[in-house]
């Protein structure tokens, strides 16, 4: 019965708490982004010079910015760009990182040594600096920001997924697959990939949060979404210049970014704890 004994109840409760909070916040952020596509109280670009930098009121729940544009409308309308940045960059990072991780983790040997030293070199560059380097080549813009952040995230995925692949590849079911004559491609994608989904999902959801912040930073630097289009990073960029006059325009996008990043991170942590618990139950 020691297998049952291995479940620390407190850890299970914490995993559940994280999952519930993380999933709720994540769902909220996605809902805001989707709602913004269909509805906003005012046109996000509608200028009202009589009500510039206004504090929250019934007419403008989150106040107005320096051109008198409704902050709530802009948070709603810009949401999809920020969220897309997070998901898009993560998807791209995985699309690049997964095949490399499977290849090096499966074949090991010299290929692995060469590729991983290269990956280590890339990992030593801070993600945002790496993304900036890519932007230098591609020029500013939302799509370019997704590409830059995706490429910048891929070395981390290679590193994390490869270690899971190494672990999975050491199992006898992989030897059994080789013994019955499966192709290397099937073993990588048919046997190993399903077994390493857990860390991929965990790291993926945490990375969505990172990429979201990274995207906001790029937009803040004027390298992501281009004005007059809004996203949360652009809004913070514009608002911080007037912070000494009014911090209200800053508050809306800042809360939006914080909430979604915390949401994705908690979701990832909760998933990790949950999957880890299941694993320790299974292994016992």
């Amino acid at each position: 019965m020691s297998d049952l004994a291995a479940v620390p109840a407190a850890q299970a409760a914490r995993a559940n708490l994280y999952l519930v909070f993380g999933a709720s916040l994540t769902a909220l952020a996605i809902a805001v982004a989707l709602l913004g596509l269909a509805y906003s109280p005012y046109a996000p670009a509608k200028v009202d010079l009589l009500h510039r930098l206004a504090p929250p009121s019934l007419a403008h729940l989150l106040g107005t910015d320096r051109f008198g544009r409704d902050v709530l409308s802009r948070v709603l309308a810009g949401g999809w760009r920020s969220i897309t940045l997070g998901f898009g960059a993560t998807a791209l990072g995985l699309a690049i990182g997964l095949p490399i991780a499977l290849l090096t983790g499966f074949y090991r040997g010299r290929l692995d040594q060469v590729v991983m030293r290269f990956v280590d070199a890339l990992l030593s560059i801070p993600t945002l600096v790496f993304a900036l380097l890519v932007i230098v080549g591609l020029g500013p813009g939302l799509v370019q920001a997704v590409l830059a952040l995706g490429v910048a995230a891929s070395p981390k995925f290679v590193r994390i997924v490869r270690s899971a692949v190494l672990e999975a590849a050491g199992h006898d079911y992989v030897t059994a697959a080789r013994a019955r004559g499966e192709s290397a491609l099937y073993i990588q994608y048919g046997e190993i990939l399903p077994a390493v989904w857990a860390p991929i999902i965990v790291e993926g959801s945490i990375n969505v949060g990172f990429a979201l912040v990274g995207g906001a930073a790029l937009s803040y630097l004027g390298l992501g979404t281009q004005p007059p289009h809004a996203d949360w990073g652009v809004m913070i960029n514009e608002a911080q210049k007037y912070i000494s006059v009014s911090f209200w325009p800053l508050l809306g996008p800042a809360i939006a970014i914080c909430a979604s990043v915390i949401g994705f991170n908690l979701l990832g942590e909760g998933l990790r704890d949950r999957l880890h618990l299941q694993r320790s139950l299974r292994d016992a």
């Binding site: 019965m1 199992h171 019955r180």
Partner: protein, 650 residues
């Protein structure tokens, strides 16, 4: 009788899982007398480890002690405060765990770890602690204590690590040693040495021992009294001789019959079914589902412990006092089937032995066929000559460093005729697993030839290699590792057929037929491996191997990771499958008792080389090589006594 050292009274421990309390130990009453060895036997999940953890008060957070007390020297360990426990644990009661590799700190020398106990708990100064550490390492019969003390855990073998753990446990000079499967993770020879050590230590330092194992033969080596646990309940308890000679519980009888005996070639008998993990609550006998002698009474009421004579022999069975009732109810249908099967097996064993005689009688003819004189029946399925496998280790980055070459297999030759079982025997590191993998072309060979059905395996083109992969399969030691946790049983078993282009309808039919043949049903098709017990997982692994109707199956320690009772059923199944499909086995094992039951020929390996090989009977009755004799002597066996006549072993 003197006061007991430890008195467990009416102990019930449950685990809170998903809001439900699952009992792990139920109403256990057990005493440990001074200078006594009590052996606790049971399958995994029987609650034996939980009982030990309760004595240490090391129960995990979700464990609930529902009733009972554990008294040591006037203190109830379950209710003692932290300070009291700190005085008792390690000093008065010490525990030794199954896996020494996880119990030792990898970052400290083993000497420092033992000395730490001595300085912190016994208040010794550094110099005295070092001296005492060396004494303790000498006590557990490790040569050159100063050298061992300066070593890190990973520099020691498994057996040496377990000795270090024992030395550490002895450092506080405890009255009571609790040993949780201390030899299960070890090779047979190492296990024998550790058992011998425990026996001599017991004589020397006279502490009392509780020895827990799933292997009755190991427990029988040491125990004064034996307790048998099943699903958390004490099924039988009594003096070792009584329990072994006159087992009075169907479960104990099952366990005894499940132990493979090195002395005879007679297949051990498994206990059908698996232990229930449902929260059974005392409504009926816990062994009901698996008992061949269950009567109405067993369904309607839970048996109490029945006293049998004066020696303290008790058994939890309604019919404990009527041994004939649990040994000779011939009307039972299942039992008749059982007897028929038994006769069948005996006949098979007979045939195999006769074949051995023929083989020995005709060496000249066999030599001729080996030289390639026509293809008679004796043409081997697999013939290996001069096979060597080398690894290059430590070559460094991009292989630029200077590697040292490890010769895992050296110049091995063997012949495996069709429908026969060749056992390759040796300890870990003997090269037997590397040999097995090389035969399946999973390792690059360095030298030699592997000929399967007349064709050199390493010269096969892609198409013929595919055919070879279909005809040669492998079954692994660890059933959990050999099944992909994300795949359903149906997909796992069907995959080889998909690979070899079998049509969908045909596939389903063959998958179900194969599952049936290994004793599973269609109900398992949709399950994931984590929903299966160890024995069921191994059955699925067997089904995957047999579904392509292979001619050669390599069995790499197929029962080592399983409980003894499950091991017996898997061995039976393997012989059945051999008869059904006509395949040959290459059985890799370190357990000679298992090998004895199934092998036609035996090859003993050590350090990559063959020490001895020949017909099984010859190896077991007239071993020529000293290493073979050592291996044979190491197998723990039940003491040789007249065995009770039960349908399990008659």
């Amino acid at each position: 009788m003197p006061d007991p050292l430890i008195e467990i009274r009416n102990l019930t421990v449950s685990f809170a899982v998903g809001g439900v309390l699952l009992p792990a130990v139920k109403e256990l009453t057990l005493t440990l007398q001074p200078n006594e060895v009590v052996g606790l036997v049971g399958e995994s999940g029987s609650g034996k480890s939980t009982a030990l953890l309760a004595v240490m008060n090391y129960l995990p957070g979700n464990a609930v002690v529902e009733t009972g007390s554990i008294v040591h020297d006037g203190v109830d360990l379950l209710r003692a405060d932290r300070a009291t426990l700190d005085r008792i644990r390690g000093r008065r009661i010490a525990m030794i765990y199954q896996d020494p590799t996880t119990a030792l700190n990898p970052a400290m020398t083993v000497g420092a770890q033992i000395a730490e106990v001595l300085t912190r708990h016994l208040g010794m100064d550094g110099e005295r602690a070092r001296g005492r550490t060396h004494e303790l390492l000498g006590l557990v019969q490790l040569d050159d204590p100063p050298r061992i003390a300066a070593a890190f855990a990973h520099q020691l073998s498994g057996g040496m690590q377990q000795r270090v753990m024992i030395a550490m446990a002895l450092s506080g000079e405890p009255d009571v040693l609790l040993m949780d499967e201390p030899t299960t993770a070890l090779d047979v020879i190492v296990q024998a040495h550790v058992l011998e050590l425990v026996r001599s230590l017991h004589r020397q330092i006279r502490s009392s021992i509780v020895f827990v194992s799933h292997n009755l033969a190991a427990v029988a080596q040491l125990a004064d009294r034996i307790g048998v646990l099943y699903a958390g309940e004490l099924m039988e308890l009594g003096p070792a001789a009584q329990v072994l000679d006159h087992p009075s519980n169907p479960y104990t009888r099952g366990l005894i019959a499940a132990v493979p005996r090195i002395a005879t070639r007679r297949l051990p008998r498994g206990i059908p079914g698996t232990a229930s993990r449902e929260p059974l609550r005392f409504a009926h006998c816990v062994f009901l589902d698996r008992c061949a002698f269950a009567a109405d009474l067993c369904r309607s009421s839970r048996p109490a412990l029945v006293e049998l004579g004066a020696g303290g022999h008790v058994s939890r069975c309604h019919f404990a006092a009527e041994p004939s009732r649990i040994g000779a109810g011939l009307s039972d249908l299942a039992e008749r089937a059982d007897l028929a099967e038994r006769a069948d097996l005996a006949e098979r064993a007979d045939l195999a032995e006769r074949a051995d005689l023929v083989e020995r009688a005709e060496p000249a003819e066999r030599a001729m066929s080996a030289a390639g004189e026509g293809a008679d029946d004796a043409a081997p399925l697999l013939e290996v000559s001069g096979l060597s496998v080398e690894y290059r280790r430590g070559a460094g980055f991009l292989g630029l460093g200077r590697p040292h070459v490890v010769r895992a297999v050296r110049e091995v030759s063997l012949r495996l005729p069709r429908r026969r079982v060749l056992a390759v025997v040796g300890e870990s590191g003997s090269g037997k697993s590397t040999l097995a993998r090389a035969l399946l072309r999973l390792e690059p060979k360095t030298q030699g030839r592997i000929v399967f059905e007349g064709a050199d395996v390493h010269a096969l083109d892609a198409g013929h290699l595919r055919a070879y992969r279909r005809r040669a399969q492998i079954v692994f030691q660890n059933p959990t590792s050999s099944l992909n946790p994300r795949k359903r049983v149906a997909d796992i078993v069907a995959r080889p057929l998909v690979l070899h282009g079998v049509a969908r309808d045909d596939r389903r039919r063959r998958v179900i037929a194969t599952l049936r043949a290994v004793g599973l049903t269609e109900a398992y098709l949709g399950r994931f491996p984590e929903q299966l017990s160890g024995g069921e997982k191994q059955r699925v692994a067997l089904a995957r191997a047999f579904v392509t109707e292979p001619l050669l199956v390599v069995l790499d320690e197929p029962t080592t990771a399983l409980d003894v009772s499950v091991q017996a059923t898997i061995l039976e199944l393997l012989l059945e499958q051999k008869e059904r499909t006509g395949c040959a086995y290459l059985l890799i094992s370190h357990d000679l008792a298992v090998v004895r039951q199934v092998a036609d020929q035996v090859m003993v390996m050590r350090d990559g080389e063959v020490c001895e090989s020949g017909a099984a009977e010859q190896i077991f009755t007239r071993p020529a090589h000293p290493y073979t004799r050592e291996l044979l002597a190491a197998v723990p066996d039940l003491p040789e006594r007249p065995r009770p006549e039960t349908p399990y072993n008659s």
